[in-house]
């Protein structure tokens, strides 16, 4: 185990860095897009709601690895078309394909989480805002969104962790993230402790993330009394 750490630590840590980068970028872009999607999703008009519902259902109902293959290998079938559009350079790189797939996947999950949170906002608070004559955009900015994000916060943290772990499938399309490097080192050494080292790195990242996220949550809910804060968790 020690010799694996000694000789392959830079490789594995480099892989871990790429894993972190991919997860961070994908979840961040998805987080930005999730809000308009969630607002579309709660509209009463069916033609606004339905496309978002289908999008969410598709990405939550199919395996991530199948989505990844669809984007990475499936785009190859449209190569002449993509070359003409100048997009082939993007789809040729497996990291880009992984990023695109993970962003869409995370977008579906985050939209659904936000949707639940938006619908869980206490209706009395919204009525109070309306009674004070707030227009919809002010209502959203000052009342609905701050409350909804506090409700959604723990679930969004879980989604980030799921993305981080799910991201390991990118190694199958030759992305050299932590899992990819681990598989390479194992195929060279046939030393099972490679997997244990990788597991430790993954556990460290997820545990660190959970602790940070909990602190952030405490900070967000600092105006609530301790009792209610505990109940909210």
């Amino acid at each position: 185990m020690l010799d694996i750490i000694q000789s392959y630590a830079p490789l594995l840590l480099g892989g871990a860095l790429l894993t972190l980068k991919i997860t961070f970028v994908a979840t961040l872009i998805a987080a930005v897009l999730a809000l308009p999607m969630a607002i579309l999703r709660i509209q009463a008009k069916r033609y606004l709601r339905l496309p978002v519902q289908i999008f969410i259902s598709f990405f939550r109902g199919t395996p991530l690895i199948a989505q990844l293959f669809l984007v990475y290998y499936g785009s190859g079938e449209f190569r002449p078309f993509l070359m003409e559009a100048g997009l082939w350079g993007f789809f040729r790189d497996p990291v880009n394909c992984a990023l695109l797939t993970f962003t869409l996947n995370s977008l579906a999950y985050q939209t659904e989480i936000l949707r639940g949170a938006l619908q869980a906002v206490n209706f009395g608070s919204i009525e109070a805002g309306r009674a004070m004559g707030m227009p919809t955009n002010v209502l959203y900015r000052h009342i609905i969104l701050p409350l909804a994000y506090r409700i959604a916060f723990p679930a969004l943290g879980n989604e980030c962790i799921l993305m981080l772990k799910g991201g390991a499938v990118a190694s199958v399309i030759t992305v050299m993230d932590l899992m990819g490097q681990t598989r390479r080192v194992f195929s060279q050494t046939f030393d099972i402790s490679t997997y244990f080292v990788a597991a430790c790195i993954y556990l460290l990242i997820t545990t660190g993330f959970v602790l940070c996220w909990r602190q952030l949550e405490r900070h967000l809910n600092r105006h609530l009394s301790d009792h209610r804060h505990k109940a909210a968790r």
């Binding site: 293959f69 190694s171 099972i192 997997y195």
Partner: protein
């Protein structure tokens, strides 16, 4: 139009198309999921029971178990089981009898164990949550009727745990179905791998991956329906919410 009929031919059953191969893969996928399910449920229930124990060691073990399983990528768990257990078995065989041949650890078994372990880690948390959601007064009521600990569990707690845990377990089941696609990486001929083979032979990646996504999608929607029905049935004794 020719593109469409060509697509139909490649997806048809029989010698020319890959439809029958895909269906065979689908059977393996379902078989894998249905074999891993009981393993995961039993293990998960055991770990949940440990977490409710008064023994410090037992609670610490269950905490460690769920943290580690849930903190690792499913793919890594799968590789660990497939390569790790195979290696251990082979070394043990060599140590016992150096003349014996190489033992091939079947990818199906590895898949069942790995997916079962992953399921159990999450299921333990679901069971624990359901167990803790039951009003403590009910246990006290049982004690006051001179029921034993086992009787209280079987007659009072167990039926309610099953009802309370059902939504969580349903989500895990859908996740399990989707996670089965990972076993294609260790060369088990499931739906995903049959699709990869078909793509390799026909050079029509988009068509086949869209088809396989559609298949997984249909299966997930079907099971969601079944689960909604089960939940409705499990809650039939509850007071209806207005």
């Amino acid at each position: 139009m020719t593109g469409f009929s060509e697509a139909l031919i490649s997806l048809s059953l029989g010698d020319q198309g890959w439809g029958d191969e895909l269906l065979k893969g689908l059977m393996i996928t379902l078989l894998l999921a249905f074999t891993a399910l009981p393993l995961g449920l039993i293990l998960g229930a055991c770990v949940a029971a440990l977490s409710e124990s008064k023994q410090r060691v037992a609670t610490a073990f269950s905490l460690l178990y769920t943290t580690v399983i849930r903190g690792m990528p499913e793919l890594l768990t799968l590789f660990m089981i497939y390569h790790g257990v195979g290696l251990v078995i082979n070394q043990t065989i060599k140590w016992l009898n150096p003349d014996m041949g190489h033992f091939n650890f079947s990818p199906f078994l590895a898949g069942v164990i790995a997916l079962g372990l992953v399921f159990s880690g999450y299921a333990a948390e679901v069971f624990r949550g359901a167990w803790q959601a039951i009003d403590k007064g009910q246990k006290e009521a049982g004690l006051s009727l001179a029921m034993g600990r086992l009787q209280i569990f079987w007659l009072i707690e167990r039926p309610q745990i099953m009802r309370l845990a059902l939504p969580g377990l349903g989500n895990l089941w859908i996740n399990l179905l989707k996670d089965t696609a990972l076993v294609s990486v260790i060369a088990l001929d499931d739906l995903m791998r049959m699709t990869n083979i078909a793509v390799g032979a026909t050079k029509k990646p988009f068509l086949f991956y869209v088809t396989v996504c559609g298949l997984y999608w249909v299966i997930c929607i079907l099971f969601e329906r079944v689960l909604a029905h089960l939940e409705q049935r499990a809650n039939r004794g509850m007071r209806p919410r207005h």
